[in-house]
Each structure stands twice: as structure tokens, then as C-alpha cells.
């Protein structure tokens, strides 16, 4: 009974902190612009493929496979964690064991995966600590990013050690009548503990360590780049479904252009409830869509985007990862002020104070970054929205691009050729 009360109290505190964090982040989403979502069938399909199937992480096959093992391991182990919460609240043991073969399957795979993940995390830690992986570096990679990674990896490692502890002490303590299957732990337990069957203390220690680590981890994650654990599956579900080459249309511009081209339709009143946007394109966090912001929360800074960016490869300042690291940081800075006062202005902005125009103009819109992102973050559309702001609000395009605009306006071609000469190529046919 005492154990139950302690457990429920800690659980409520955990949920309380988590709710506070989620509400705070949810409020930031309210500051952003709409992003229409439809075609649910396709979204389920893409989630099964890209998130559950981990298809894009396999674009780097070796390290991708290790990540996939950790991910799939987490999926089965999470089922066991749910059981632990039920057990803790109800003051019983192994509440899900009545599910029979399903329970055997969940426990057996969880047991195997606990050890697999331990090995995987050791590999990840060695990479982070002792190897120089180029994509883990860059101007946007602050020390916090590295510390975040090391903390997350260490917690996951301890989670797996304590889970193994639970399994080992359980099978050792109930050698003939344990519920579920624990192939690895059942084999290891006698080697570790010999004949001893008094596992009560070690079992309780492992159990409490594991569940408390889960509670702590859940509340640390949203404050680090590893919020990814919660946000990446929704992010994949909400992927852009259009071909990568497609750039979203600006409806507000269409209205203005139609006004210029055809006054008769243009003077029709705007549909009811339509909000006229304060500006064209993206200058700061309040101009991005909520999907852009979700992208920034889901990014775990793996740097696969930056590693394939032609601009970055050739020494330009642009790093696609930085765009989302900056967006997240800027929202953290400006969001609280905006929530208090809609017209809050700290005389800073995402463009200029975080992302330079030099970075924005270096993009070739080749979509290598978006193609590579394991969780379907779309960098080029956001970069383009910032260019749209620069051009349409600030008229701040590089001079040579202004010349190109003028050529299109005057001659209908980006170069200075006369439209009358459009058939000249046929002359030598």
C-alpha cells in the first residue's frame, strides 16, 4: 500500500511537470500559421514506412540499422513500461501476463532488445566521444547539443541496465514459475547469481530505478534535442505529401495578382473569416507554419541534411540543419513574449539575427537535405519562404537576381533577349 502511494504520487508529479511542458510548447504552436492536413490514408502509409519501418534512416545502412534496432527495441520495451505503470498503480505484479502468448512475445523481445540496445548505445557513445564524425560538427552545433546527446545516451543505457536487472532478478527469484519469456536473462542469471534465490532487494532496486528513470527521461527530453523521441513519429505522419519539387502556392499573392490581371473577379469580396496576413513570406517565428515549428522540435541534429548540402559541401555558410536549430531557439526566445503580447517586439528576428541572408541565398533548392532527412523535415520550403519575405517585403534580392526579374518582366526571359527572337533556334534546322 505504501509502495502504491509513493508510486502514484511520483507518477502524478511526473505527469504534472510533463503537462506543464507540453502546454507551454502547445502555446508556442498557437503563435504559428496554418498548415492544411488531409489524405489520412497516405499519412498512415508513410508513417508505417518511414517511421515504423525506418526506411530513410537506412540511407546510411550500418549506423541506420543500429538506430533502427534501438527504435524497434523501444517499441516493445514501451509495452513493458506500460505494464509497470499499471502494476505500480494497482500494487500488483505482471498485470499483463494474462495475455498469454502475446505476453511471452513482448517480454522475450523486450529482453533481447534490452541487451541489443545496450550494445548499440555503447557504439553510439564511442562515436560521440572518440570518433570525429563530420556531420556532428558545424557552427550551429553548440556544446549543449553534445551534452544533450551524451545525457540521453547515458540515460538510455541505464534504462536498459535496470531493465535487464528487473528481468535477471525476476527469473532468478522465480526459477520455475516466472511469467513470460526472458531468453537472454534466463541464460545469464545463473552465471551472475549462482544458486542464490533471494533477489527481492535487487529486484525492487532495478524496478524503481527503471521506472524513475523513465519518468525523469520523459521530462528531460522536451528540453533537449531528443524531444525527437516524442515528436518524430507525428512529424513523419504530417510529412508534406507532394513531390519534393513542389513549392506551396501563396494564395494571398494569387489574389493580388488576379486583381492586377482581371479587375472584375478581383473586386469580389474576400471569403468570410479570411485573415489577411501581416506580411508575405517568413521573417520571424510568428510567420512560420506550425509544421515548420514541429520540424524544428523533431530535428535531432543528426546533420544528414547538412552533410549532403551542395552549398555546405563547397564551404558556403548555409547549413540546412541550422535553419531548424535557429527556428527552435528563436521561438524559445520570442515565444514567451509573444504569448503575453501579440505585438511583442524585441527588435530582433529570425532573419538577420539568427539566419543571415547569405545563408538563404546559397540554397540551390536541390532538395538533397529533404531527401535525406530520416523524419521528413522539409528545409527548402522554409528557406524559400524566407527568400519570399526578403524579395517581396524588403526588395532585398542580390542585384543580379533583380536584373533577372526585370528581364522576365520586360522580355519574358531571365536573360536579356528579345521575345521576337524566340524562334531563332529553328533557323539552322
Amino acid at each position: 500500500m505504501v509502495k502504491q502511494i509513493i508510486f502514484i504520487t511520483i507518477l502524478l508529479i511526473t505527469l504534472g511537470i510533463f503537462t506543464y511542458t507540453v502546454k507551454r510548447i502547445y502555446n508556442f504552436f498557437r503563435l504559428t500559421k496554418p498548415f492544411p492536413v488531409s489524405e489520412w490514408g497516405k499519412r498512415i502509409n508513410i508513417t508505417l514506412k518511414v517511421a515504423i519501418g525506418q526506411t530513410k534512416i537506412f540511407r546510411l545502412p550500418v549506423i541506420g540499422f543500429i538506430h533502427a534496432l534501438v527504435f524497434w527495441g523501444f517499441m516493445v520495451i514501451t509495452l513493458g513500461s506500460i505494464e509497470m505503470v499499471i502494476d505500480g498503480i494497482a500494487g500488483i505484479e505482471r498485470s499483463m501476463s494474462a495475455t498469454g502468448w502475446f505476453y511471452d512475445f513482448v517480454m522475450a523481445s523486450g529482453d533481447i532488445m534490452a541487451y541489443v540496445i545496450m550494445v548499440a548505445i555503447i557504439i553510439f557513445l564511442i562515436r560521440r566521444l572518440f570518433m570525429t564524425i563530420r556531420r556532428f560538427y558545424g557552427i550551429e552545433m553548440q556544446p549543449k547539443s553534445k551534452i544533450d546527446a551524451l545525457i540521453a545516451l547515458s540515460i538510455i543505457f541505464l534504462l536498459m541496465v535496470s531493465l535487464a536487472g528487473i528481468n535477471l532478478t525476476y527469473v532468478q527469484g522465480h526459477p520455475v514459475d516466472y511469467e513470460g519469456l526472458f531468453p537472454v536473462s534466463a541464460a545469464l542469471a545463473p552465471l551472475l547469481f549462482g544458486e542464490s534465490q533471494n533477489m527481492l532487494f535487487l529486484h525492487e532496486l532495478s524496478w524503481w530505478t527503471h521506472i524513475l528513470l523513465i519518468f525523469a527521461f520523459a521530462n528531460i527530453l522536451p528540453y533537449s534535442k531528443h524531444f525527437h523521441v516524442f515528436t518524430s513519429i507525428p512529424n513523419v505522419f504530417l510529412s508534406r505529401l507532394e513531390p519534393l519539387g513542389h513549392l506551396p502556392n501563396m494564395e494571398n499573392v494569387t489574389r493580388e495578382v488576379k486583381l492586377m490581371l482581371d479587375p472584375e473577379t478581383a473586386f469580389a469580396p474576400a471569403p468570410e473569416g479570411e485573415v489577411i496576413p501581416s506580411r508575405f513570406g517568413v521573417k520571424d517565428v510568428e510567420d512560420v507554419t506550425w509544421k515548420n515549428y514541429l520540424d524544428s522540435l523533431a530535428c535531432t541534429e543528426c546533420g544528414r541534411c547538412t552533410a549532403v548540402c551542395p552549398a555546405n559541401i563547397t564551404g558556403k555558410k548555409l547549413s540546412p540543419r541550422k535553419i531548424f536549430v535557429d527556428l527552435r531557439a528563436r521561438m524559445k526566445e520570442k515565444g514567451p513574449g509573444l504569448l503575453k503580447n501579440k505585438s511583442f517586439d524585441d527588435s530582433k528576428s529570425l532573419i538577420g539575427d539568427y539566419i543571415s541572408t547569405e545563408e538563404l541565398w546559397a540554397c540551390t533548392t536541390c532538395n538533397a537535405c529533404a531527401q535525406e532527412c530520416p523524419i521528413n523535415i522539409n528545409h527548402p520550403t522554409l528557406i524559400l519562404d524566407m527568400r519570399r519575405y526578403l524579395v517581396m517585403e524588403e526588395s532585398a534580392a542580390p542585384a543580379s537576381l533583380n536584373t533577372m526579374f526585370t528581364n522576365i518582366e520586360n522580355n519574358g526571359a531571365p536573360w536579356q533577349f528579345s521575345p521576337e527572337d524566340r524562334m531563332k533556334w529553328t533557323e539552322s534546322l
Binding site: 501563396m250 549532403v308 534580392a397 524562334m423 534546322l429
Partner: protein
């Protein structure tokens, strides 16, 4: 064989009450860029050889607005797009072929947002179809001692998932083929996309086209095949920059087919 060819103009056909099956969208590079005009001519020879019913807009053609849109000038893009949609409506255009992946992408994916719905085919896809139908037959002797490496245009490949058609056209030449380490969805951009074609690159350690050209040259191929006017400019420049223009040639897949058929 170079018999003189009359390129049909859609307005002239319309005046006679005729409607071509396809509009061949020449594109600005195809019409004005001296090097790419050769590709346009090559493609037209292939269309005539295969007996395709097509026409061009001629002087009524104008920029799709793609470079303006990619440079952030949505206003200018939409002006161009809405104007073109009206022109195409007047001629009842349903099917478009183009050699330019940027024109291809914008017609296929973006004009529909503004009310322009077309069946859009890139010339690599169209040529593959004609090859498959047996209407374009390459002489296997022409390229059998050559090695060809293909560079994927971003807006054809990653942008629209088309990696196989240009490779199928090249395969019909019966040359040896080789791939760059970064190919298909992992291909490196030539450096010209996103309106970079019309501006100087930002400061860096290297030009993107040099990086890509070096990768192509390292394969040892004697022909770098492209399927995009901007890629052609960038890679031809890159080959010259590395002083390899004697040993290595840059051709569009349409030109290769013309050579292999002997048109």
C-alpha cells in the same frame, strides 16, 4: 541527313483549325542559350523522325516564372503563370513536353495550384517512350567504344522521382555506362538550381559545379550526359575549368540519340 525541318507554331495550326497532340515547351534556355539551342534542334529532329504531332508557342512563349519563384519573387511568378495558363487555355493545350526539368516541374506540380492542369512529360520520359515503341532506334556501333556517365538533374530526380527514363534512353545507345558515387536520389546538384544560375555563388571554398564535374571526371567516362539546360551549362563550364574539354564531352541525351540514329 539534315533535311530542313519546319517547326509547327501553334497559332498557325490553330488558324488552320488544327490541334497538335503535344505542346513542345522550348523554354528560355532552349530558345536563347546558344549551346542549348542545339539540344532543342536535336529534340525536334527526333520528334519529326518519330512522327510526333506537336507544335511550339513560338513568340507567344514566355518564362514559366520558375527562376523568379525560386528567387522568392512569388508575385512575378504568378503573373507569368496566370498569363501562360490563359494562353494555353486559348489553344486548348492538354499535353506538354519540355526538355527543361525546371519547366517540367513547375507545369507538373505548381501550375495546378493556379488552375492549370496538364499532362506534363519531360523529354527524357518522352524519348524513352519513343525508344520503347521502336520509333527511335540507335545504331549500336556509334557509341560502343564510349563510356557515358549520367548526371541527375535535381528537379527531374529528387524533385519528381524520375531516375530511370534518362538512363533507359542512354541504355538504348549500347554504350558502356558508369555511375558517379553520388547518383540518383543521392546525386549532387550542379549548382545552378534555386535561381543560382542567375547570380554569383556565395563565398565558399569551391564552386558546386567544380565539385560535381570532378566527380564525373573521376569516373573516367568520355561523355557526361545531362538532361537539363542549367546542368549542361554548369558541367560544360566545369569540364573547361578542369581543362578536359578535349577528352570529355557534355551532351544532352537528345543529342546522343540524334548522333546514334544519324539524323
Amino acid at each position: 541527313m539534315n533535311t530542313s525541318i519546319n517547326v509547327p507554331v501553334i497559332a498557325e495550326l490553330a488558324a488552320r483549325g488544327e490541334t497538335p497532340e503535344y505542346l513542345f515547351w522550348v523554354g528560355c534556355a532552349g530558345a536563347f542559350d546558344e549551346r542549348y539551342q542545339k539540344v532543342t534542334r536535336a529534340f525536334v529532329r527526333l520528334l519529326h523522325h518519330a512522327g510526333v504531332s506537336y507544335a511550339v508557342l513560338g513568340t507567344e512563349e514566355t518564362c514559366t516564372g520558375d527562376p523568379a519563384r525560386r528567387a522568392g519573387n512569388e508575385m512575378l511568378f504568378q503573373m507569368q503563370a496566370l498569363t501562360i495558363i490563359e494562353t494555353l487555355k486559348a489553344y486548348n493545350v492538354k499535353k506538354i513536353i519540355t526538355c527543361c526539368p525546371h519547366c517540367f516541374n513547375i507545369f507538373k506540380n505548381e501550375y495546378s495550384d493556379l488552375g492549370g492542369h496538364y499532362e506534363v512529360t519531360h523529354h527524357s520520359q518522352f524519348l524513352k517512350k519513343l525508344v520503347d515503341e521502336g520509333k527511335l532506334k540507335a545504331d549500336p556501333a556509334i557509341f560502343n567504344d564510349k563510356t557515358i556517365v549520367f548526371h541527375d538533374p535535381c528537379y527531374l530526380g529528387r524533385g519528381n522521382g524520375e531516375y530511370e527514363s534518362p538512363r533507359a534512353v542512354i541504355a538504348s545507345l549500347k554504350a558502356k555506362t558508369i555511375e558517379m558515387p553520388r547518383n540518383k536520389s543521392k546525386a549532387l546538384c550542379c549548382g545552378a538550381g534555386g535561381a543560382q544560375m542567375f547570380k554569383e555563388a556565395e563565398p565558399g571554398t569551391k564552386e558546386v559545379n567544380t565539385e560535381r564535374t570532378e566527380e564525373a571526371l573521376a569516373t573516367g567516362a568520355s561523355i557526361v550526359a545531362t538532361a537539363c539546360p542549367f546542368c549542361m551549362t554548369m558541367l560544360t563550364d566545369g569540364i573547361k575549368f578542369r581543362d578536359k574539354q578535349e577528352e570529355v564531352k557534355n551532351y544532352d541525351i537528345a543529342e546522343l540519340l540524334v548522333m546514334a540514329i544519324g539524323l
